[in-house]
Point group: C2
Chain length 243, copies 2
Amino acid sequence: MHNETIDLLCKHRSIRKYQQQPLKLEQIELILKAAQSVSSSNFLQCSTIIRITDMIRRKKLAHYSGDQNYITQAPEFWVFCADFNRHYQIEPGLQLEKAEQLLLGCIDTAIMAQNVVVAAESLGLGAVYIGGLRNNIDKVTELLAIPKYVLPLFGLCIGYPDPADNPEVKPRLPKELVIFKNQYQPINRNLLKQYDEQINNYYQHRSTNQKVGGWSDKIAKIINQENRDFILAYLHKQGWITK
Amino acid sequence: MHNETIDLLCKHRSIRKYQQQPLKLEQIELILKAAQSVSSSNFLQCSTIIRITDMIRRKKLAHYSGDQNYITQAPEFWVFCADFNRHYQIEPGLQLEKAEQLLLGCIDTAIMAQNVVVAAESLGLGAVYIGGLRNNIDKVTELLAIPKYVLPLFGLCIGYPDPADNPEVKPRLPKELVIFKNQYQPINRNLLKQYDEQINNYYQHRSTNQKVGGWSDKIAKIINQENRDFILAYLHKQGWITK
C-alpha cells in the first residue's frame, strides 16, 4: 500500500546544509505550480511568497532570524506571508481586522508552504522552515517593504542537501497521543513516559549533537525562550485582530 | 522533470462527493504516519487530530459547519486542532497566552493537515478542508470536549471520490501576483484584469454551478460574509492571545 509520495513524506528531515548548485528555473516554476495548486479557503488566495535573491537582504534575514547562516547558504530562501493586502488594494473599504482573517491567512499560507516542501523533496531537494524569522519580525517587515494586512510567517530554505549532512528522522509522539476518537482525551502518561525514553535514547545515539533528556522535560524551556512576546503588538500595528 | 508527486499536487481538487467504501485501517495508519512526519517548530508537536466516527457527532458537526452534508457522507472526518494543552498537562505552570503560540499552533497544524491531504490523494482518495467548522466554534468546542489552549481550526473529509463528481481544477492567480522578488510589490492591475477574465470564462464553462464574474468582484462579499466576528472573543475564552 506504500507509494512513492507517502515514502517521501515519511522520510522528511529538515535540511540545513546545502550544495552550492542553484535550482533550475523550471524546478522553481514546478514548485510554484504545486504551491498554488493547494486548497484556498473560499478561494481567497491569501498568501504571498517573497523570494530573496539579493544577498544583502539574505544576510540581514539570517541575522534577524538568530544567525541561522544556512539562510545565506541555501540556493533559495522564500518568505511566506499571509496576505490580505492584495484584497485591500482591490477593495479599499474591506474590513480585515478580524481574528478570522488571521487564522485563515496562517492556515492557507502554511498549507501552501507544505506543498512547496513536498514538491521540492520530490525533486531531490531539501528544505527547512525558519520560524526564527519572527524573532525580529519588525525588521523583516521593514526590510521587505511589507505593508498592512500582510504577515511574514516564516522562511523556507531550499536546495540540494549536502551529502555530508544526513540527519536522522526524529521519532514522533506515539500516535495515540496525537489522534483521538470523537473527543479530546487527557494525555496517556504511560505512553508519554515510553516516548520520553525513546527520545532520550535517540538524542544519545544520533550521529551529531548528542544529548541527554526526553521530550517532556524540554517543553517549558523552549516555550519560555521562544514566546516572542512582541508578536501581539506587532499584529495590531499591521492591522491584524484589532476588532 | 515532472514526477508522480508533483503531478499529484498539481491536480488537486476539493472532493465533496464520496463513495461509501470505508478506508482500511492500514491506509489510516499510513496517512497518520505521513501527517506526523511533517516539520514541527522547535519539535513542540503542537497539533491534535480528533477523528469523528460517531455519527451523531458527525451530523451535529455537519450542521454547525453550515449544513455541509458531505461531512456525514465522507468515510472519514477529522478535526485538526492547534494543541498546547498537551504541554500544559505536562507543565501546568507554562505561559501559553502569547500570540506566538497561536501562530505556531496554526502553522504547524495546517502543514500537518496538508500532509494528510497529499498522502490521502496519493492513495487515490479525495479530501476537502472544512473551514466552516469555525462557524460555530463554541458548539464544536463543547461537543468535542476541547479544553483550554486547544483550538479546533478546521475539519477534513476524506474518502474515495464519487466518479460521477469530477470537479475541474480552478485556475489560480498568475504567479507574478503571488511571488515577488526581494520585497513586497503592489498588485499588477493588467495581470489581475486578465485573471478576472480567465476566471469568468472558467465559471461560465465549468461542468456544474456555472456563473458569471471574475475573482476580484467576489472578494468583498466573501470576506464580509465569512468574517466570523466572534473568533477573537472565543480565542480569549480558550486562553489564546490574552497577554
